[in-house]
């Protein structure tokens, strides 16, 4: 008579245990991003759109950084990346503890003044910085975050201007407060902001 309830107990206990451990594992996984790149092995001296010196990653330690890569002579893809950065910032409610960066991989043309104008054109918030620097410095920075660029289409236009464009990686990255890049996304797709916002919200809370 007594055997029936005692037999019923163990399976329900096991089920509860499995359920709880599943929850634990899942919540652990959700916040546990693998380190893609540790940015602490080097430091890069760059400048922002106001010619203010920026040391990467030191200056951003202790904060999450959302970072996109653009060049201002790009009329099609880079505006999408820039607009996605703007949207992420807006959808997160302009958080003061998250830094937003647009880093140019075209330092020859993207001087601080050009980046300043670019920010104006896109009505970018104060709290988003666009970075450039010495070409060699920028190149080694791009190498360290594995952003590839290649010159394409150097042409002389009908009116005699020589112009060139760059083919480039399409990436937005998230760096954690320890200076480690933990997430990488395709940058220009319209679905990207909501993904990044979701991930950041789970990280920040």
């Amino acid at each position: 008579m007594n055997t029936k309830p005692t037999l019923a107990k163990p399976p329900s206990f096991v089920l509860t245990f499995i359920f709880l451990s599943f929850l634990l594992i899942q919540s652990a996984c959700m916040n546990d991003y693998k380190v893609i790149d540790d940015m602490n092995d080097a430091s890069f001296e760059l400048v922002n759109q106001d010619s203010v010196r920026v040391i990467f990653p030191e200056d951003f330690r202790g904060q999450y950084v959302v970072m996109g890569f653009v060049y201002t002579n790009c009329p099609d893809i880079c505006p999408l990346i820039t607009q996605n950065l703007i949207k992420i910032q807006k959808d997160l409610g302009y958080p003061s503890n998250v830094q937003f960066l647009g880093v140019s991989f075209d330092p020859l043309r993207d001087t601080p003044e050009v980046l300043h104008r670019y920010k104006e054109v896109f009505k970018v918030d104060e709290n988003v910085n666009f970075l450039t620097g010495e070409p060699k410095m920028v190149q080694s920075f791009m190498d360290s975050v594995r952003v590839r660029t290649q010159e394409s289409m150097r042409t002389t236009t009908d009116s005699g201007k020589e112009i060139y464009f760059l083919n480039h990686s399409d990436k937005i990255m998230v760096m954690n407060p320890k200076g480690e890049i933990i997430i990488e996304y395709g940058a220009s797709m319209p679905s990207i902001p909501s993904l990044i916002v979701q991930d950041l919200q789970s990280l920040i809370q």
Binding site: D158, H168, S169, D170
Partner: protein
Amino acid sequence: MNNQSLLFSSASTRTKPLILLLLFVCISLGLMLGCNNEVDRPDSALEEQGRLTSLSMAKSEWNIAIEDAWARPTKAGMMSAAYFTMHNVGSVADSLVQVSSNASKDLQIHLSYMNDGIMVMEEQPFVAIQASEQIPFQPGGYHIMIIQPIKDMEEGDKISLSLYFKSGMIIEETIQVGNPTI
């Protein structure tokens, strides 16, 4: 000899009906063809007429619409792009071969696409459009590159956009600066 002639004559008597039959077939075929020709003439004339009407129809059925056009705001000397949907509502294929605008002397037809993890932008010599086809010119795909506009292009401004087609047709549009859907 006798045997041979016998054989021969017997052969010729056997082939006679065959020759007659062939003759009959030839004549009737000739008649049929002749008749056909006579019947054909008005037919082919009709066909020719039809072809001509379809040609003139083709001209009147050339109908390419540029829908939802806009250009990206920018400052003088920077870069912009124009976007729209090119919709062939007519019944003949054509190709967009050239573009011009009062915003800049330098316009190019471009295509952005992903290649091996790299975003590539390429000039296109033309963009072919089939009858009834719709080709979107949108961010991340086909676009009209406006290189270093001579003036600032502010939201709400208007610029001209002319599209030249292989057929000789030209579409002249006034398009607005700023995306109305964003």
